[in-house]
Symmetry: C2
Subunit: 334 residues, 2 copies
């Protein structure tokens, strides 16, 4: 039984405690938060768990086998490094780290110590994303033309990071998981409206080889919540509406077939327009699956889609996006 | 009674004939199309109208007082110039022209000959856009933070222009009408998938003063049709869903109020979250209103929101967007 120590009991921490506590193969041994109020709430819900406001006490506790970190991003590196140095594998909230160097150092350290890093790219464990991945890998969609994601709402403004670092890690991790190629460059535009140097609206365009394009629209200032991704393929097109309770994914037998006859200027465009199909989506909670995968990864090894290297890739894209954003759309090569 | 000559009876021409024929103050005198089949269809519907396949015959017909042009964009300049030289005011399909120089020449010519140019930015005459304009001008939304428009569908691929020239003239004209300021620069990204040098997906970001940002997403390869614009203001936020039959505009009493206390780092973010209000929208057909406005403009003069100068502004933004698109997001100053 993997004994988890969870650092951070704010917004996301309670979900980690709940899931690691009941996941097959793990339970929560200790929880750390600097906020006493958060801790006393947690105590009531989990009488068997120990609590502390001192991270070192948790990290060095001999009963704790692995550490999950759900704190602000700028603290991830320090906490994860301490945990790895104490011989404990780490589960880190997204985004993995705040800089590329921090991520690289952690990956190297984990390798040296033969420990594991898993980044909480929760969406990669959802039934929806798994189904889309399967449709792409089975060539149901055909070669991909574009990935277009909108993730907007009236958001919880973060005080330390812009909207890209808050919302786009989801889309970038999903995009990176689904598209079987590496983006070459990013162009990011956006704006901030509260005179604090942090963008609350951003638009990211990732250029891939073969004219594949990915676009991510993140916005903290939308009156309506939208979580919709369009994926266009040569054979089929797909709409994933994460707020749709029933048909969360719709696959459309719609497409365009361009036939060239005698030279470039005689293009024949044919529109295929057929049925819509909504595959059944597995409803298991993603965080439960990810917790169990973490246990397996720590104890048995193997490969996971959200290891440190995957986390590093996302951080690289976030850093490049933020740089492009600051320079008003300057193309940043990846 | 203004006698209209309509050039082009393809996709949009029939709408012009229908509306100019019944609009107060105008009727259609002659229709020109090179396609005999289109003409014979039109003849059946309008037995009183004369038909020709020779544009010069229409333009020089002494009975024709003004000419409406609904042909591919690269022909607009030549046809409009001929009409103006023949002493006839022109109504030109969007986009006005294919180059900035063409638009400037036509505007100059019309001024010299004391004739009128009106560009068919139909949306500016819709009840929805008029209502939004009123809400902005009445300061109901407060100062504008952003304009975010999505116009995607499985599109009629144009053979001569990219998706920006096909779909974005609508959004650009609307944006230019609604935002009481001038965009300073554009960054456009996108991609084409059919090896003919024409983009079928594009994302345009317009930078305005005071951190106002406008983003336009146009795509011919979407399995679903979306026509949604979000407008965020300091006081209220608005969603315009043009495909929504009843509540086409929703105004949300949602917003973010940031209070600074003692220095930059003590930001207090307050979320206002109140009622949604859906104003009643005037249902009159926009093209009927625009036809009647054209008659009035030709006969009485005055000012219209879609004159040659407005058309030129849109062309400038289209040209800049296409240039940025070709250069993968290079910032183009306006």
């Amino acid at each position: 039984m993997l004994q988890m120590g969870i650092i951070g009991y704010g917004y996301w921490g309670p979900n980690l405690v709940r899931n690691f506590n009941v996941a097959a193969g793990s339970q929560v041994s200790m929880v750390c938060d600097m906020n006493k109020q958060s801790l006393s709430k947690a105590k009531k819900a989990y009488p068997q768990v120990r609590f502390t406001s001192d991270v070192n006490e948790l990290i060095n506790d001999p009963e704790v086998n692995a550490v999950a970190i759900a704190t602000p991003v700028f603290t991830h590196h320090e906490l994860a490094k301490k945990a790895l140095l104490a011989g404990k594998s780490v589960f880190v909230e997204k985004p993995f780290t705040h800089t590329v160097e921090e991520a690289e150092e952690l990956i190297e350290l984990a390798e040296k110590k033969k420990l594991k890093i898993m980044v909480d790219h929760t969406f990669l464990y959802t039934g929806a994303v798994r189904k889309i991945k399967q449709l792409i890998d089975d060539n149901v969609l055909g070669s991909i033309y574009y990935f277009d994601s909108v993730r907007v709402n009236l958001g919880l403004f973060q005080h330390d990071v812009n909207v890209v670092w808050d919302l786009a890690p989801h889309d970038i991790a999903i995009m990176d998981y689904l598209i079987n190629d590496k983006p070459q460059a990013v162009v990011a535009t956006g704006s901030g409206h509260f005179d604090r140097g942090l963008e609350d609206i951003a638009y990211l365009t990732f250029y891939y080889p073969n004219n594949i394009i990915a676009h991510i629209n993140v916005n903290w200032l939308s009156p309506v919540k939208v979580r919709t991704t369009l994926i266009g393929g040569q054979k089929k097109m797909l709409v994933w509406n994460d707020l749709e309770p029933d048909e969360i994914i719709k696959v459309y037998d719609k497409g365009v077939k361009v036939t060239t006859t005698e030279g470039k200027y005689n293009l024949l465009v044919n529109y295929r327009s057929g049925d819509m199909w909504a595959p059944r989506i597995q409803a298991t909670e993603a965080l439960r699956l990810i917790a169990e995968e973490f246990v397996h990864y720590v104890e048995e090894g193997g490969k996971v889609v959200n290891d440190g290297a995957a986390g590093l890739k996302v951080v690289k894209m976030l850093v490049a996006s933020s740089k492009s954003l600051k320079n008003k759309g300057e193309m940043i090569y990846l």
